[in-house]
């Protein structure tokens, strides 16, 4: 595992892509692992355009503002999200982006890039809806501070009321984990 740095994450995409849940899964697992965490969604008429995002902070010290304006990690689920948030990433930040829906290349050259064909991978597993788990898998691999087994446990919790989806989501998570590179 690499040295932990405070995670200030933006997870962004279209409504329905599960961007909020992706963020929440990261936050919940991190909480259980003893980190201080916060999660906050975009809210209000921001949603009208069909876009959604959430901000997650994972930190060893108490979380200050939950609102992230300069993330060090961006999970971009689609092209408008990449375009909207790329510039706000901290220099050296991690950009995890859904190659399946984003045909363009990131403009910034000072970022650590984690392209991942999240939608395609999810599709292959049989359900586009699991795209977000693929993205989380990539996140966990890239950042390296979370034990993937703990994330899977958390997925079980999260889908406790819909057990039929547990396996799919765990598989998606694993696939994302596999497909991505750890950032050093």
């Amino acid at each position: 595992m690499s040295e932990f740095v405070t995670q200030e994450i933006i997870s962004a995409g279209m409504g329905g892509q599960g961007v909020l849940k992706a963020g929440l899964l990261i936050a919940e697992t991190s909480m259980k692992e003893g980190y201080n965490v916060s999660w906050i969604p975009s809210y209000g008429p921001e949603m009208r355009g069909g876009t959604a995002n959430c901000k997650v902070v994972v930190s060893k010290r108490p979380v200050g503002s939950p609102i992230v304006t300069s993330p060090n990690v961006l999970l971009a689920f689609n092209r408008p999200s990449l375009e909207k948030f790329e510039q706000s990433l901290k220099p050296g930040g991690i950009l995890i982006y859904n190659k399946s829906l984003i045909e363009i290349e990131p403009k910034r050259t000072d970022l650590k890039l984690v392209p991942i064909k999240a939608t395609e991978i999810a599709d292959e597993l049989g359900n586009t809806k699991a795209t977000n788990m693929v993205m989380v898998g990539a996140y966990v691999k890239a950042t390296g501070y979370l034990n993937p087994e703990k994330v899977k446990e958390e997925i079980k919790h999260m889908f406790a009321s819909k057990p039929q989806f547990v396996e799919l989501n765990i598989k998606a998570f694993e696939a994302g984990y596999e497909a991505a590179e750890e950032i050093k």
């Binding site: 929440l24 909480m31 965490v37 916060s38 809210y43 209000g44 108490p62 200050g64 503002s65």
Partner: protein
């Protein structure tokens, strides 16, 4: 106890429930509609009352009725909605009715925006309504405190027969954080029977009112209120300190609510760069921890006040300090939360002003 991730608005709702809230009245407004949405599910489950009202002006008067009937009751809203409740708040105070009101503040003025802000501080602590009105104003800074303060509010309200006010903000309402859900509170549901409108069975009629036409009578009643306010000032001041245990602090930051969290990190960062910084967080904005701040002023420690407004609590700090030390201010407005870095930079500025 295990912690669960929960939204601030939902934690507030669940806390109130567990504090014995029997009736919720509310009207949707961002960024606090989740309180009503949560209550619309939970209250009927518990056989309690949820009512979406026709407006905030009406809401505060539903509350006025239910509070007069002696049950634990509450409403929540956000800035413009709270402004519409001002007449009713004065009536609640004038009729000495306990209840809980929460403002999940957004940016103003006017319709403004729906992001976190702290520009309703004065409205809550001093001048929102007509007459000499005071309420205990609790300022949570975490989802846990959204839960805790809501749960405790009713006891406090009934202790003084006065509304209790929670002043939060859009970020606290919308964010999720780990919360420990404390159990349902035990309380005496007949505590208010001695004055509430429960039906005049085998007793003299009870009257809930705030009109006293004779000036002498009205003045007398105001003296009674003032005595209550003085008691609150004596008994209910709450605050929290962080890294203030040194005699020769370089700087004290004063901040409440969401801003205090950023400032806590700023204190750490300042200390990392060798500045002995400390934080004082008022938890009750009224009564204000005046004496506590005064302690630092007496030691000539420069003070930096950080708020999400143009400087409202600032005045309470200045009143506490009485010119005994430098008081500096950093404010962001209407939806913007400063970063810890900004606060650190500003603190260095402040230090420069006192020649450090």
């Amino acid at each position: 106890m295990e912690k669960v991730m929960m939204k601030g608005n939902e934690a507030l709702a669940e806390g109130a429930l567990r504090g014995g809230c029997q009736c919720y009245f509310g009207y949707p407004i961002t960024p606090q509609s989740e309180v009503a949405e949560y209550m619309s599910r939970r209250m009927p489950e518990l056989g309690r009352v949820f009512l979406q009202t026709e407006s905030e002006v009406a809401t505060i008067n539903y509350l006025y009725g239910a509070a007069g009937a002696g049950v634990r009751c509450m409403t929540t809203s956000s800035s413009p909605g709270i402004s519409l409740m001002q007449e009713g708040i004065s009536y609640l105070i004038g009729a000495e009715l306990p209840c809980l009101i929460a403002n999940v503040v957004r940016g103003g003025p006017g319709l403004g925006n729906i992001q976190p802000a702290q520009a309703d501080y004065w409205q809550a602590t001093k001048g929102g309504t007509h007459g000499d009105c005071r309420m205990i104003v609790l300022a949570p800074n975490s989802v846990q405190e959204m839960f805790d303060f809501a749960r405790d509010a009713f006891d406090l309200a009934e202790k003084y027969r006065n509304p209790v006010f929670i002043l939060a903000d859009g970020a606290l309402g919308q964010m999720m954080e780990p919360v420990e859900l404390k159990p349902f509170l035990e309380f005496d549901p007949h505590k208010n029977d001695s004055w509430a409108t429960t039906g005049a069975k085998n007793r003299e009629p009870h009257v809930i009112t705030s009109i006293h036409l004779e000036p002498e009578e009205m003045e007398e009643f105001n003296r009674h209120l003032q005595a209550k306010y003085l008691l609150m000032e004596k008994e209910e001041v709450r605050w929290e300190e962080y890294q203030t245990n040194e005699d020769d602090l370089d700087i004290l930051i004063v901040a409440y609510g969401i801003a205090s969290r950023v400032c806590r990190n700023a204190v750490d960062d300042l200390r990392a760069s060798g500045i002995k910084a400390g934080l004082l967080r008022p938890i009750t904005l009224w009564p204000f921890p005046k004496a506590e701040i005064r302690r630092f002023a007496d030691r000539k420690i420069p003070i930096l006040v950080v708020e999400l407004n143009m400087g409202q609590m600032l005045e309470d700090v200045l009143l506490a300090v009485e010119g005994k030390t430098l008081v500096d201010f950093y404010g962001r407005y209407a939806g913007i939360i400063p970063s810890a870095d900004e606060v650190v930079r500003k603190a260095f500025d402040t230090l420069k002003k006192v020649g450090k």
